[in-house]
Amino acid sequence: MSGPALEVKGLDVRYGGVQAVRGLSLTVAPGEIVGLIGANGAGKSSTLHAIMGVAPVTGGEIALGGRSLRGRSPEHIARSGVALVPEGRRIFAELTVEENLRLGLAGRRGRGGAAALFESVFELFPMVKQFRRRHAGALSGGQQQQLAIARALVAEPDVLLLDEPSLGLAPTVVDVVFEALAAIRERGLAVLLVEQRAQRTVAAADRSHVLANGELRLTLGPEDADDTEKLVGAYFS
């Protein structure tokens, strides 16, 4: 395997007087899922926002395939090969499902072949194809989440960032999302997954970093998923 697709070194994020992330370092290689777990306010989402260029980075380095992303605009970062599935999905409710997908093409580096790309995401999420003429706002929460992931995938990113993709979803839909993540890993993408569902994330990811107060406290492997004591201890460390 070649080097990491995404490399974060000594990342500091500060909102005014509040230090959200302190000296965080992590890497994600192609075909890997790396989890970021921790309590609310631990700095998980801030890390993703910093990578996407929408949070104030005050220190450290973020690199994609060895090229620095620090200080770049969100659209430049998206067009470099990083796609974010934001918390709360943030789909465009007044646009159709297909128009939401077409927006995802804005982050593509190449041109042409959009139809084949759409078909490849329809394989993962048949629902998106079924409802492509509907307004996205008319979809259920789970369907919107699938659309948000599909929209990110049509950009053909090297790195996929997911911010709490299972938030507010029914357990059956959570299963669909995690199955899709496994399939996405098979396609060779580097996935950085922020989640509240610690056990599920630790089980699905190649490794999971536990954040507290913006700092990396512990790294867990899939073998730790059933160790409840260790998981609880990690949260309250």
Partner: protein, 300 residues
Amino acid sequence: MLAVWNIDWQTLVDAVAQGAIYALMAVGIGLVFGVLRLVNFAYGQLVMAGAFALALASQWGWPNWAGILLCFAAVLALSLLEDRLVFRPLRGHSPAVMLVATFAVAFLLQSVALLWFGPLGKIASSLAYLNRPVTVSGVDIRKITIVAIVAVAICLVLLFVLLERTTIGLHMRAASMDFETARMLGVRADRVITFAVVVSGLLAAVVAVMLTVQTPLVTPDFALRDTIVVLAGVVVGGMNRPIPATLGGFAIGFADGLLGGALPTNQSQYLPSFLFAAVILVLLVRPRGLFTFGKTVERV
């Protein structure tokens, strides 16, 4: 009913034309507001600049097509300058800062026009023949009224096609709904904003041509009253989406034209009072806007 209000068919058609022109101004203001969340108070001065370009072309004896081309070039050049020198550098600042900046641009352009052309202004007479009437079913209608309604209809259809059928239109719609998410998907902020400014400028040039025919005397405060009325209309309609903003612009232009025709000549000075009283009433009843349904956005 029309007779009761002292409104004849000619007044009604003129009111539709005025509503159409104001609708176009409202779209121009709404497009920039959509992507920047900013009301461009200098919009009227862009129209004024286009009108002066037409007046100069008329003075130099240029053919009409050349005058119209000069008008479009002047308005587009100023729009792009405004984008480069004001909107782009200040984009990251608070909406209040940008708002004050557009006030500054408006006063600057007006002052430049005052210095160059004087307070008495210039006459743009080459298209004045469009004020001659044609008789349709016994009703005298000025040619410019028909031209304005047709031109606005064509502009709105083209704009609809642009927004609904093209990639840049899709990006503009997405940006007006949630710019941050659009940018995180790869939508280029500078490109979308520049495009909105250019389209908005093109519409201002169309408005300049039509208003200049209706009012050939071009002074530094040309289109100022129209812009203030349209801004009220945009707020009344709902400025967070193009269609409510357009309907608001049309509604206030139509009401302005109708009231102007209905009021006796010796009471016409009360027209703005009636108009803005109606605006206040509408906003008290529907603060989100007359044609807006759903959640509101910050207004500046």
